[in-house]
């Protein structure tokens, strides 16, 4: 606990306090506390109910309707889902989401490597660690802009390095990889900071003991360090998976899902259908699909959490 934590010295009891304390309190304590709990929770619950819970259910409901956002919604059952399953763009989006997921999983190992590399005590290392982490703080819009420019086929840095222009963002074959590469940059920084923190809590005696036994390098990492980093590793994977499924900002800024909708993902497809084409019901169906995929992780996380609570 940091030094500024105030030491609690109860104020001298006031006459009124003493009077309150001496009254019989059997009757009231439990119910008064319950009432207090309600008041403390009410604002947060209200906001969450209005802006998060209700919208989830409303979107699920809406996914069974054909609605342009203005006319009266028309119930069409599962037609939105049927159409979605037959839409080529949906398959592209799903495939891209999968690509995102797979390639994004490079971030935890890359972050671990960076953390191991920086986990030394030399002069100025604090500043270097800080600077390494800086990309994570940047907005997706800024990262997107930086990399769009990096990839520019006429004068971008990539063109300069390769000696000839490659229209990364203009070519359906490369666009998704280009965007994922950009997104890996801040994500690796995030995983790095998680692992750096995890490394500080490693049991030094165990490491020393293993070193005496002759463990070093890879075997040390594999059998001594990684088992101790298990919860950090788990977390790095969770935030990376969720991040991969959430990807929106970079796609929006770098390619707007193009060219020819080749770089779209479920999150962007949802937005595109609702905002550009006024297809609210159809967009809702895509959002529900994305939600269903993410629910796997949500349920998994919650089960872990509730197990820890017991």
């Amino acid at each position: 606990m940091p030094a500024q934590t105030p030491v609690i010295t109860p104020a001298r009891p006031q006459p009124s306090d003493l009077a309150a304390a001496s009254k019989p309190r059997r009757r009231s304590t439990a119910s008064r506390r319950n009432r207090a709990a309600i008041w403390f929770l009410a604002p947060a619950c209200l906001m969450t109910a209005v802006y998060v819970l209700y919208p989830i259910f409303y979107t699920i409901y809406l996914s069974f309707f054909n609605w342009d956002g203005m006319m009266k919604p028309e119930f069409i059952g599962l037609a939105n889902y049927v159409e979605m399953l037959h839409a080529p763009t949906f398959h592209v989006a799903l495939k891209n989401n999968l690509t995102w997921l797979l390639l994004f999983l490079l971030a935890p190992p890359a972050g671990l490597i960076a953390a191991l590399y920086l986990n030394q005590k030399v002069r100025g290392i604090r500043l270097i660690k800080t600077l390494f982490f800086a990309p994570f703080v940047l907005s997706g819009v800024v990262v997107g802009l930086i990399f769009s420019w990096f990839y520019d086929p006429t004068f971008g840095l990539l063109t300069l390095l390769l000696g000839h222009g490659v229209p990364v963002l203009g070519d359906p074959r490369y666009v998704t990889f280009g965007i994922i590469f950009a997104a890996l940059w801040p994500q690796t920084a995030y995983c790095m900071i998680l692992f750096l923190t995890g490394l500080t809590s490693i049991n030094a005696d165990q490491v020393e003991a293993a070193r005496m036994e002759g463990a070093k390098g890879w075997s040390m990492l594999r059998y001594v360090i990684l088992p101790q980093l298990r919860s950090t590793t788990f977390m790095a994977f969770v935030v990376t998976i969720i991040g991969a499924l959430r990807s929106f900002d970079l796609i929006s800024v770098m390619s707007s899902g193009g060219p020819f909708e080749s770089s779209t993902v479920l999150a962007y497809y949802t937005y595109d259908q609702a905002i550009k084409y006024y297809r609210q019901g159809y967009s809702a169906a895509i959002a529900v699909t994305l939600f269903a995929i993410m629910l796997i992780y949500i349920v998994y996380q919650l089960r872990r959490l509730l197990r820890d609570e017991r």
Binding site: M1, Q4, I8, P10, P13, A21, R33, N34, A37, F40, L41, A44, C45, M47, T48, Y51, V52, Y54, I56, Q120, V122, L131, F132, A134, P135, L138, S139, G140, V141, V142, G144, L145, I146, F147, S148, W149, W185, I193, T197, V207, S231, M235, V239, L245, F248, D249, S252, V253, T270, Y271, Q280, S283, I286, A287, V288, L290, I298, Q301, L305, L306
Partner: protein, 283 residues
Amino acid sequence: MFPMPIEKWKASNRILYKLSLPVALLIWLLPILAVLVTSVRSTDELMEGNYWGWPKDFAMLDNYREALTASPMLHYFWNSCLITIPSVIGAIALASMAGYALSTYKFRGNTLLFATFVACNFVPQQILMIPVREISVSLGLFNTVSGLILFHVAMQTGFCTLFLRNFIKQLPYEMIEAARIEGAGEWTVFYRIVLPLIRPALAALAVLVFTFVWNDYFWALCLTQGDDVAPITVGVAALKGQWTTAWNLVSAGSILAAIPSVLLFFLMQKQFVVGLTFGASKG
């Protein structure tokens, strides 16, 4: 410590390691450096094709002046401030109350409520998009700063509650009991005893939530229209569409958009990292 502490390395490896650090850093930060350098490059130089060389004459003042005055950049920046600061305060206020209640009162449904707040962190934002737009329109909050603030408060409350509830749970409960025996009301216990104790956690959260809200793009896109209340993320993205060739101006705008979160991160680094890893390890 792992890897082997550098003092035990061979002298040659030690030197190699120390030399490699600035090189690795340079490569890692190359994109940011490029933007920084470009933001001080003159338009003439860009026209001539000097994109990556060292700038010959520094046009920093001109670029930033133009980015600030020829486009509504300052206006966007101000909008971002108006949106972000109340959102951070609001989310933390609601969450500290909820976190206090969840960690100190035993009532039925406590765990269920807590689980709900946790789950809210993982919900894909797109599933909220249409209803939240509808709610904003029907409440007359579409394209207003308050509309964005209310939404951000609601969205961030889940994460903040999770964080603060776990933090308050670690406080010695006897202290709260003692205060109650002294006759302190529930609000007094919360306000006078718990809040001062969780100040470090509040600072960590504030820094983190500030960057989350400041960097938001999706909701700004969904809940605003035109320039009136658009925050700087939308502004910078629009700048790119407008002046695809004026990369020096776009760079200046990007730097402007990045400054508050980067600055806050450097100033409050410790809190930032605490927030990030605490939220993560307990999430």
